[in-house]
């Protein structure tokens, strides 16, 4: 056994209490990393909304954090294998939710991403990612024994594309792209033969022009604005430009907590959802930004580490999926903030304001925690 990774005892040590064994088995580095990132997220949100009419968002986020933490604990405790059994049911529920959103969702900013349940709003597309990851894990576990036949696999793979389409027509291009990236990443790490995937990718590239034609005007504008942010500095490019100003103006050490002028005086609209990294980089500078990226990098590496040590392929795929989800969320969101990607509604895990996103990541991490906890098969 190499390295100080994990604690490698539980079953061998006779006479330990169940609680001590549980405590020893829980993946503390994972928990600690999440706690640190979430704390930074709260700190950042506090700076972003304090003193404005959005100040209530901090308390709201705190409540969701609490709910998320419980969800994390619960999903760590639940055996992921029992979840795999109901993966298709979860997938089906996610599809239903997505359809409801498509048909009757409330309109937020011209697209239909929200579903209202009482006074709570939720974005099923966020949770749909988890459902897809679970189904992917289930597919791998189904195919673990026998050699997978394309005849049985193909319809299931096609079924996996349904949520992508449903999300894309909301229209929420960001999440749809993200979901695709997650599936491709998992495919890359789980498929023995990569060629079918390469063919599929090639086909998708061919579909880009068709996709462009079917895009909404504001989406086209956003993509175009990304290509040349200074062209329309009051419209779509405004976000990108102001975000770049904010990040750049942070310089090496930042302007200090609560002192970012771009943030404090509202030059970045809605910066608590899509642009929290901009706020962070403005106030904490290059050093702070790199520290946060390092934390995410560590989290992702740690998730892959859990995947490597998982007791079965399904658990490994689960962790790979969650790691990929985290990775792409971070990369796309930060790239967007830095003006390297178009402005799409992709959140920064644990930092962005919003219940759906938080819950998704807490549950995702819970699943990985569960895989980690059960790596020794007790």
């Amino acid at each position: 056994m190499r390295g100080g990774v994990g604690i490698s005892l539980p079953r061998a040590q006779i006479g330990m209490t169940r609680w001590r064994r549980f405590r020893a088995a829980v993946d503390w580095p994972l928990v600690a990393t999440i706690v640190v990132i979430a704390a930074l997220g709260l700190l950042n949100l506090y700076s972003a909304v304090n003193g404005t009419r959005h100040a209530g968002k901090f308390d709201q986020q705190l409540r969701w954090m609490f709910v998320g933490a419980i969800a994390f604990a619960a999903f760590t405790a639940i055996d992921y294998r029992s979840l795999l059994r109901v993966a298709w049911i979860g997938f089906g529920l996610a599809l239903v939710a997505l359809i409801i959103v498509d048909v009757a969702g409330s309109n937020a900013k011209g697209s239909e991403r929200w579903i209202s349940i009482g006074t709570l709003g939720g974005q099923p597309s966020e949770l749909a990612k988890l459902a897809v990851i679970l189904v992917l894990a289930r597919l791998v576990s189904d195919g673990a024994g026998a050699k997978p036949s394309w005849a049985t696999l193909a319809p299931k793979l096609l079924l996996l594309c349904v949520p992508v389409v449903l999300i894309a027509v909301q229209p929420d291009l960001g999440t749809a792209t993200l979901l695709t990236l997650i599936m491709l990443s998992v495919g890359f790490l789980a498929l023995r033969d990569l060629w079918p995937m390469v063919y599929t990718l090639f086909g998708m590239f061919l579909a880009v022009p068709i996709l462009w034609e079917s895009m909404h005007r504001y989406q086209k504008d956003r993509v175009l604005a990304f290509l040349d942010p200074s062209a329309d500095s009051t419209g779509s490019g405004w976000h990108t430009l102001q975000s770049i100003f904010a990040v750049g103006s942070g310089k090496l050490l930042g302007k200090g907590f609560m002192s970012g002028t771009q943030n404090q005086f509202d030059f970045l609209p809605e910066h608590w959802t899509d642009f929290p990294f901009s706020v962070w980089a403005e106030e904490w500078g290059f050093v702070g930004a790199v520290v946060m990226l390092a934390l995410f990098a560590f989290l992702i590496v740690w998730l892959l580490n859990i995947a490597l040590r998982a007791r079965d392929a399904a658990g490994a795929v689960l962790c790979v999926g969650v790691a990929a989800m985290t990775f792409w969320h971070v990369i796309v969101n930060v790239a967007m903030v830095l003006g390297m990607a178009p402005v799409v509604g992709v959140t920064l895990p644990f930092i962005s304001y919003g219940g759906s996103s938080l819950l998704t990541f807490f549950i995702g991490m819970g699943l990985c925690g569960s895989v980690s906890l059960r790596r020794h098969g007790y």
């Binding site: 890359f188 771009q262 005086f265 290059f286 490994a316 790239a335």
Partner: protein, 663 residues
Amino acid sequence: MHEGGSGGVALPTLGRRLRWVLLAMLICFGGLVVRLWQLQVMRGDRYRERTVSNVVHERFLPSIRGRILDRDGVPLADNRPAFNLYATPKAMTPALRGTLKRLIGLSDEELEKIDGRLAVAKKRKVRDPVLLLEDISRERAALVDQERYRWPDVEVRSEPYRHYPQGDLAAHLVGYMTQMTAEEASQLGTQGYSSDELIGRYGLESMWENYLRGKKGKERYAVDARGRRLDEATAAGLIQGDRVTEPVAGYSLVLTLDADLQRIAERAVAPHPAAAVAVVEVATGKVLALVSKPSFDPNVMTGHLTKAEAKFLDDDPRKPFIDKALRVPYPPGSTFKFITTIAALEDGQGREDEPIVCKGSYQVAGDRNLFDCTSSHGRLDLVGAIQHSCNVYFWSLAERVGLDRLAQVANEYGFGSRTGLGLNGDAPGRIPTVAWYEKRGRFVVGYTINGATGQGDVELTVMQLAMAYAALANGGTLFVPQVVDRVARADGATVIQYQPQVKNRIDTPPEILDLWKRGTYKVVNEPGGTAYGYVTSDVITIAGKTGTAQVAAKKAKKDQRQIRGWSPSADHAWFAGVAPADTPEVAIVVLIEHGGPGGKVAGPVAKAILEGWATRVRNRQHGTASGPLVGGAILGRLRQIVATWQLSQRAAATPAPGPEDEP
């Protein structure tokens, strides 16, 4: 590779491809870090500046424009507080525009103005307030202010505004201000002008712009993304350096003009549709009154001229925007005869007692034309010829000396060159010579005949003639007309004191000047004089010369507006003279454009002005009669400045009672 607890990796492909995953992560995260380095470390300073300019805005603090005062401190141009409507282009949505229109009842013309200004401002900073409408009424200001809480980006500011308390008094001299053109705005932008401010456009307002303007102050303040001002404490933390640079008030001009005399002069020409008057001090060339009629109300011109009014003024055939005292040269008629007199006597070509018989017409050698005199004067000597304005006498003299000699004397007296005042397109006029005619064709003696009596191609301005008559009365010193006596600071202290400037010293023998004096005395004061009965005054003795200048028959254009009592083909009526006759103090020139016979039309005007001068201006001790200065300013700052100004004025005025001070 790490060995799993249950032996081997559960997902073999993961182990194999892990290095690619780590490489991909390295590239992606590395890319982000490189980008962060680029933005935050390499370009950090630039972006920091950008974010500061996002938040910290600058606003000019208006400087108070210098005032224009008459010689006694009566304000001709002043400042008063006015309500100016401002809004940020970003806030001016079509809906708000509509609401505003209904709320304060904007006219189409005003809306057009507003839209134009917004369009210009939009190209620059959409979050900076731009002046929409200047000098709105108190009622409108109140209406907008009431809605302030609804539209924080629309505001009414109380700012000093140019005001001409005497209305159209000396309008051509004082001038007016207008909005800058886009071109001027881009040129002057670097000199601290903002595009929405007024700039001196005409008269002294334009010529002395650099002195009057002052220096604007600057205020830096912090705003959020919506352009709302941040509180003082927050702003203090964001703004480095001075928050406020105080404005410097412009210099005031103290004129040589006498507002009372100016008013007397303008009242005197009131019955006439078009006229020009100049009254100058004989001993100094200082201008006491300068009238050009028709004129305009500078208060209207300064930011309140509607298109309809502008069109009405533009369509006036009398050209109200052209200064008739300075810019338009007219044939002087018989007022020009002193040139002929001086030329002939200096050359020994004539004698005072030389009798010439006037039979009512004159035949020039080699010319078939017969030149008609005003009447058949009979036998006259030179003084009599001046008195009766006998053309024949002067034609005879002119024929002897020739046109070029007349031109030489005329040039000595300042005709044919600009007075040096440099205001309102001050014209040189025209003194023709033989060469001048030959360049244009053939010279004939008839041109000399015309020139001798100020007809034909001889043209000069009212101002020029007034300076020449002053020179005749002061022994031959031709002054540059002086309008500005001194430049003063806002607190009253003199910055520049101007001394009378001599344009030319003419060595006309005193006997000739004396002869001219006697002749002009008789014109006014002895029966048979052309101005006798019209200018003859028992208040003050006046000496002068009448002139009736024929104009080349011109028909009014068909579409021209008809002006009662004014026909473009009628003679110009002149009177040029001095008072008091024995020891002249002031010279006066009155021109009634297309008014008719000089003595009858221009004479009474000159008489009224000079009598007014003698009774109400001459013996006044300057400085005390002004009374309290009209402050007109309500803003605290303005009032303060005015108070200091008043104090210094009084202090300067009281300690020196003149010799004529009556007990």
